[in-house]
Symmetry: C2
Subunit: 217 residues, 2 copies
Amino acid sequence: MMLQPTAWNRGGVSGILKAMKTQLIALAVLACLSTAASSDTAENAVRAPAYSEDGRLLLPENYREWIYLTSGFDMSYSAVAVPGHHMFDNVFVEPGAYKSFVATGKWPDKTVLVLEVRGAKDKGSINKHGNYQDSEVMGREVHVKDTSRFPENGWAFFGFDSGTSAKMTPRTADCYSCHADHAAVDNTFVQFYPTLLPIATEKGTLSAAYKAESAKN
Amino acid sequence: MMLQPTAWNRGGVSGILKAMKTQLIALAVLACLSTAASSDTAENAVRAPAYSEDGRLLLPENYREWIYLTSGFDMSYSAVAVPGHHMFDNVFVEPGAYKSFVATGKWPDKTVLVLEVRGAKDKGSINKHGNYQDSEVMGREVHVKDTSRFPENGWAFFGFDSGTSAKMTPRTADCYSCHADHAAVDNTFVQFYPTLLPIATEKGTLSAAYKAESAKN
């Protein structure tokens, strides 16, 4: 956003008038600058996660309009077989956090990532092979960085079924240790986010654990 | 966002201090209002496709920051076998066109949709089953509604390989007739966009051909 300086013509005005004009103009410019500044800030600011009074995370209503990171198909980190149906997972991140990551290769405090799981359909309309996504959402998992609230390592998971709020997944769940041990960047699986992995590589923010693991393969 | 420069030229004033004050304040308020209004407009406006002088479509640079619609896995509309590798396709739409669709169930003129094809990886990092997306893009196809430029039915396809501009796919290509005959909404496969299909259904904008086809299944 550009704010153009205003050109002023001050000819033939009396002393007090001039001063007053200057004051009014200064106020006008300040008002516009503050509009501009708050608009800039609003655009780039990280929108913090919202909680209920009893500490449940509120599902961000408009996460489908956030920045898309990636989709997986039937992904599983476990050696045991996958369920008898196919699934997609789609990952979104809050736009302010995304902009910060693009600039630094790191997640700012208050980052929110949403993983949405959808069923996979195969035959339908003109589709003959492969899979497309169902309108029904099977579940959502939200990963939040909020260092004052989660002092252990800054992050917490919240699993949503059909509701719009969820309590924190207990810290004993496998997801915490798995993300801590294997995440490419700060407890997040940036290794599976195709547009962010090159940024983290370039910015030098890949975790030592991930680099050691990659070197072995 | 544009802020219009304000021109001031009011020399030789004395007894009309009050009038001038009012005028200055009015101008200041107007300047700020115009800032706010143009910001609103910019946010909701449909950003039109851009072409080179010889009619090639320019790839929208920031389409990964547009609104995500869906991903498919190995999708094919042909009865013949799929290639020997797995693929994801991700679909994005320009945010102004998306907002218009959410409000009306229809695509406005100048709508741009980008389909991005990425290779699918399987074993890597901690992934044991299923597939995730590769950082390398295998191709992009852009679908544009531009009724003055494409008077036949308003739409045109452009296939991008590695370049940043592409010439229009000839109108004899199968994609045109397939989209015209089977699209759920106005030449677009909204039947595969899980958040848009319910909107088109509710707004009553599904095509007769799609409704007849759905009724048979």
